[in-house]
Amino acid sequence: MKEILTDDVGKTLFLLGNEAIARGALEAGLDLAASYPGTPSSEIGNTLADISREAGFYFEYSTNEKVATEVAIAAAVSGLRTMTFMKHVGLNVAADPFMTSAYTGVKGGFVLVTADDPSCHSSQNEQDNRHYARLANIPVFEPSTPDEARGMTRTAFDTSEELELPIMLRTTTRVSHMRGPVNTFNLGKRRGKGRFIKDLSRFITMPPVARKRHAWQLEQMEKAEAMAEGSEFNRTLDLGGSETGFVGSGAAVNYGLDVIKSAGIKCRMLKLGMSHPVPSELCRTFMESVDKVVVLEELEPFLETRLRSIAYENGIDVEIIGKLTGHFSRLHEYTPDTIKNGLGGLLGIEFPDNSLSPRSIPIPGRPPVLCPGCPHRHVYYAVKKVLKDNFDDAIFATDIGCYTLGIQPPLNAADFLLCMGSSVDAAGGFSQATDQTIMAFIGDSTFFHSGIHGLISAVYNGHRFVCTILDNRTTAMTGHQPNPGMGVDGMGNEAPEISIDKLVEACGVGHVRNVDPNDLSATINAYNEALAHEGVAVIIAVRPCALLEVRGKKSKGTFRTYWIDQEKCKKCGKCMNDLGCPAILADSEGNVSIKREHCLGCGYCVQVCPFDAILQEGST
């Protein structure tokens, strides 16, 4: 049995925040979960996918977050306990059903987890999704630790059922990816099958229904605030003083407590775990009990603005210090240093800096790059060769996935990116607005997620570009989750393999070609043809992710690395400078060699070397 499924109560597991959310859902009796992977939420799905068959609940990777949300809501209105989880920008995709689900409400508990990413560790923006909860007007739980993530997930299901409202569980990267001790409670009992009971005055959101449900929804949120007043997750900590009060939520509270303890600050803290609706009575009495309030929260001044209005409404004479006073930033994730900088001088405390500062040596950055052997690199290399002098003028509309890393030199194959699916959609706009050559790049999973609509629209509207579907037979960036093109589903069962070729053809694309990106000359031919085509041309570059391919080769015993024969090598540097494979490096004398421990044995560089100096291991 997998450890996370343990029946033992009171056992300590050492879990990531995301794994703890999965455990909390099991303790709540999860019946169904649906998701599309996205960092920093992906490990929730990885964990549930791994145990779904053993534990007996249903799990699916849906084609995108909107689909996942609707699958989970439908199951919840049928009386089951359901969950969906996504990265923060995933909620942009799911926003439509999310907003109106607050009107229909649910019957079984429904929890939507959003993992926000302050500092954009793996994301295109740092939006604060608590604003979405305010927009839809539903309750929010914000854990600070893995153990709280477990407890709040479990409680969120009960709260959802009691209020019949969707509940948002909001983490940030540092909570999702924080490992810590988690105490187990008993596993919940699953309901198995639900039953949908028709109710046209609730589940068909025609205007007269929607108008009534909006009023119901506001009533429910009044009840939610009463629950927040008494929630075990909203509590006041006595830290030895009553002059200064801290109010905070999420990861920021952790650093606050650490700085308070190490600096010996005497204070009180109101920790808000159920942070929307903000419990105004609790906040009022807390603010009345102190002289000043320091607000600790990442990103937007969500609590701070509410605290200010509560203070104003109740005529409380208290100084509120936060982002709106300029002491703390709305940017990036918090660290203990953020708290120190914000408090420095404020409470009469100085924080000495005793960090080492050696003399300055310029060091290059280490941005993430495409792996050695990555087929995406081979596509970009071929395209660059085909476009020749036109390369700099051509527009590379890229998408969300590993292939975004084509932005790094020497490939420089990324010029425009907004979100999932933006490559194909934006290529249409560029084709209408400019006479430049337009190349769109999108991965297989991203194509299923949100590339298809753009392709239909582009054909329908007569746009002109070459769209490459980089089909590496997996969802690589988030950790190799399955997608509809792979013939396997989220629980590991055999599934119908949805054909990208047929989909593209059915979209009406006039020129569709399959190519193996590891075959340089075939790829060059394919792009020459595609560029000659008027209208939308699609190239499907099929080659499994190098990390998966190497695993297969190693298990079959066919894995061989490559090496450079120094006698044949003319030190032209073509393999290194044009291809940019991280396994190929030069020493200070300009001798180019392949680092054996990094080479994944794709052998592509053999096609790039003009002097036949690159050889497979074991050959001479």
Binding site: F14, G180, R359, V369
Partner: protein, 198 residues
């Protein structure tokens, strides 16, 4: 868990070197010893050849991030990455650094040259007496493999005597996690690491 000793450890390296693995071993051993542990791990995009940092906080600590100058131990899988994160150290911090370099691709195409290992180690040495350099390439040659580097560095960490743990317990947790056929090799590597700092 008030009154517990507090210990803050940074493990830093490059995607694929086993930073997350090493930090998990340390964390599990500390948890087993009855201590509170929180770790921040890096998952996702940065793992593709980028910098991977794990911060491990043991004892009465809530957050898994370490303030500037507050790390007690730094375990660096790569010399330039030790230098990059040196602001987390103070003069009492023990810094264990593998001297074997992994040159980033950006050094081939950017304007900044990749400094050699001696230069960055010397710069660190000028401001602290607590830098311990592990000669990774000679150890890899001895074991004819790079995969043991992780175990060597964990051994070195145990060898500092600064962990609130029995070195034997860290060793046992490591060996529990490695593939059984490599257990002997990793045990030897751990011992070599321990010896290297004593």
């Amino acid at each position: 868990m008030n009154g517990e000793p507090r210990l803050r450890i940074i493990v830093v390296g490059i995607g694929g070197q086993g930073v997350v693995f090493a930090s998990k071993v340390i964390g599990e051993a500390a948890l087993q010893a009855g201590l509170n542990v929180v770790i921040s791990e890096v998952h996702g995009m940065a793992q593709r050849g980028g910098i991977v940092t794990s911060q491990i906080c043991i004892g009465d600590i809530h957050g898994p991030l370490i303030a500037d100058g507050e790390a007690d131990l730094i375990l660096a899988f790569e010399p330039v990455e030790a230098y990059r994160i040196i602001n987390k150290a103070n003069k009492d911090t023990i810094i264990i650094a593998n001297s074997e370099q992994t040159k980033p691709l950006s050094a081939s195409f950017g304007e900044v040259e990749y400094p050699d290992s001696d230069m960055v180690m010397q710069a660190i040495n000028e401001v602290t007496e607590n830098l311990l350099v592990i000669d990774g390439s000679s150890i890899a040659a001895e074991f004819t493999s790079h995969v043991v580097m992780n175990s060597v560095l964990l051994g070195a960490l145990a060898g500092t005597g600064r962990l609130p743990l029995d070195p034997e317990s860290l060793r046992a947790h490591l060996l529990k996690r490695v593939p059984s056929k490599t257990a002997d090799m990793n045990a030897k590597a751990f011992d070599a690491g321990m010896k290297a700092v004593q």
